[in-house]
């Protein structure tokens, strides 16, 4: 983020600097090792118990990737998939937070909808494809529905949990200031439950990707999942790998967006309680190293 602080010895080869440098070196080495392994296995058509003979090499995949980046179809696929996931996920976020909160705070809502949701929850979203086909006039809406269902349950469950776990005295304080239901909701429940809700959103965006790709493979027109399956059926293996790489990159992009939004919204959390995610964990260690250097010995 910000530049490391200047050091006493002025060499620039400071603790935090070295730690950051080491981390990037390790990350790069790991990625390179994986790519090299893939390249060698595919290039020499290794057929032990696992069979790599049909695998495209890294070079072939990269060439295909570069070619596709120049085609309109590729971008059409990407934008279709993104539209579906953003639509389904946002819908799930809004409804999940609303219903999760209602379930936690209203015994009536909890009685009416709680058991129903508990029965629906274990059904994998992808198993709802037949239902989606029956329900919706177009494939497009069906895919968004599947994506929505995938993210809806993690968001709802984590919201309900977070709202139930709120410190009661916060609400009492606002009520003794004359705050009503909406004020309590706005000033206590939502901000207080936000850290927990964000956990659900993180899980939700991940599951959404799984489901949007699967749904596209089954019933899509356009979309990264559709394309990947299409390439498989016409035996275009480099194309399949380009599809997988695209899914990986887009998935990473969206979960990073959720993560960053979350970190921005929960800046008030004390440092030690923050950063449970993998990236955040790394950053916390980074910070520790910096503090240690700053102290006089």
């Amino acid at each position: 983020m910000s530049a490391p602080p200047a050091t006493a010895d002025g060499t620039g080869r400071t603790g935090p600097h070295r730690v950051a440098w080491l981390r990037y070196a390790r990350i790069t080495a790991a990625v390179l090792a994986a790519l090299t392994g893939w390249q060698l296995l595919a290039q020499y058509r290794v057929n032990l118990w696992l069979r790599f003979a049909q695998f495209p090499t890294v070079a072939e995949t990269a060439r295909e990737f570069a070619r596709r980046l120049g085609t309109a179809t590729y971008w059409q696929d990407v934008s279709d998939s993104l539209t579906r996931i953003v639509g389904g996920f946002l819908l799930a976020a809004v409804l999940g937070i609303a219903i999760g909160t209602a379930l936690a705070r209203s015994p009536v809502v909890s009685d009416l909808f709680g058991p129903l949701l508990e029965v629906l929850r274990p059904i994998p979203a992808i198993a709802l494809v037949p239902v989606a086909i029956l329900l919706f006039p177009s494939n497009e809406q069906g895919i968004v529905f599947i994506t929505f269902t995938a993210a809806f349950f993690p968001v709802t469950v984590s919201t309900r949990h977070a709202v139930r776990a709120l410190t009661p005295v916060w609400e009492e304080a606002v009520r003794t200031m004359g705050g009503g239901r909406w004020r309590v909701l706005r000033s206590v429940v939502l901000p207080g439950a936000l850290p927990g809700i964000l956990g659900g959103l993180s899980v939700g965006i991940g599951v959404s990707w799984i489901c949007v790709i699967s749904a596209e493979m089954i019933s899509g027109e356009y979309g990264v999942g559709y394309r990947t399956w299409q390439d498989y059926t016409i035996v275009d293996y480099p194309g399949v790998f380009v599809g997988m790489a695209t899914i990986g990159l887009l998935g990473r992009l969206t979960s990073t967006a959720v993560e960053l939004l979350g970190r921005r919204l929960t800046r008030w959390l004390p440092r030690t309680a923050r950063g449970q995610g993998a990236t955040a964990g790394g950053r916390a260690r980074w910070r520790t190293a910096r503090t240690a250097v700053g102290e006089p010995s």
Binding site: W170, R175, T176, M177, P191, L194, P270
Partner: protein
């Protein structure tokens, strides 16, 4: 009549932000049963708090002091009997009866200033005005330079001072305080008691202050109620720190301690 104080360094205290303080509430509990539904804690409670007075309530831990205050605040419904303010029955919490909690009740995601602004925002005070008022109140409790900090970035004493500022910023007509200094060390505690007296000067609010510390009760109270014994004692003024050496106060202190000890073990 505005409350005036004769304690130490009151004269140097800044004037209260309010121009025209609202009169204190008169609170009456009669033949009341207090507690959570199905689990009564206190029975046959009769308590009369005069408008504008400081009533301190003493009792050992676990005798229902918090229950009493939460009931007065309107957070707990009565299981029996009546609660009235200025003669009219009380139903539910309201801004005119502010509660200062024993536990940390600041919203951790709001800065100290934003916490103090909250009751003003609920009352519909415009943004610029409530910001100015919040800063005035934070100045009165000596936290001007911490206004932008988050609660976890300041000490426990500073958090309780913020809670006090937050409670008073809403211009309540009664302030209910539940062992607000209970978790603080003795030094901070003495400072907080003085600060409370200072902060209350210029308001006419009625105060019900619950504590298990007899000296604190005698220092702050106009009257001291002994919970569980049904007795209420008048405390001589002025509130001076050295009042413990005064024979009348010492006698009172002995009386309070004897009353509390005399209770059947709880």
């Amino acid at each position: 009549m505005t409350r005036t104080e004769t304690g130490t360094d009151i004269e140097t205290a800044p004037a209260a932000p309010e121009r025209a303080p609202a009169p204190g509430l008169q609170l009456t509990l009669s033949d009341a049963v207090l507690g959570r539904p199905g689990a009564p804690v206190l029975d046959q409670v009769d308590l009369d708090v005069a408008a504008g007075e400081i009533l301190t309530v003493v009792g050992p831990s676990g005798c229902g002091k918090s229950t009493l205050l939460r009931t007065l605040a309107g957070l707990l419904p009565l299981l029996g009997g009546r609660l009235a303010q200025d003669g009219a029955p009380v139903a539910g919490p309201a801004a005119e009866r502010a509660l200062v909690f024993q536990e940390d009740a600041l919203l951790p995601w709001r800065s100290l200033r934003a916490n103090v602004e909250l009751p003003l925002a609920i009352r519909g005070v415009a943004r610029a005005r409530r910001r100015a008022l919040a800063e005035e109140w934070l100045a009165r409790v000596g936290l001007t330079e911490h206004a932008a900090r988050l609660p976890h970035q300041v000490s426990g004493g500073q958090r309780q001072r913020t809670q006090l500022a937050r409670a008073l910023a809403g211009r309540p007509r009664a302030v209910l305080m539940d062992e607000p200094f209970g978790a603080l060390d003795a030094q901070t505690r003495a400072g907080m008691q003085q600060l409370l007296v200072t902060a209350l000067s210029g308001t006419r609010a009625t105060v019900v202050f619950v504590t298990h510390d007899v000296d604190e009760a005698l220092f702050l109270g106009d009257r001291v109620a002994l919970l569980g014994t049904g007795r209420v004692l008048d405390v001589p003024r002025p509130r001076l720190r050295g009042a413990h050496t005064d024979p009348a106060t010492l006698a009172l202190r002995r009386e309070v301690l004897a009353s509390l000890d005399g209770r059947p073990g709880s």
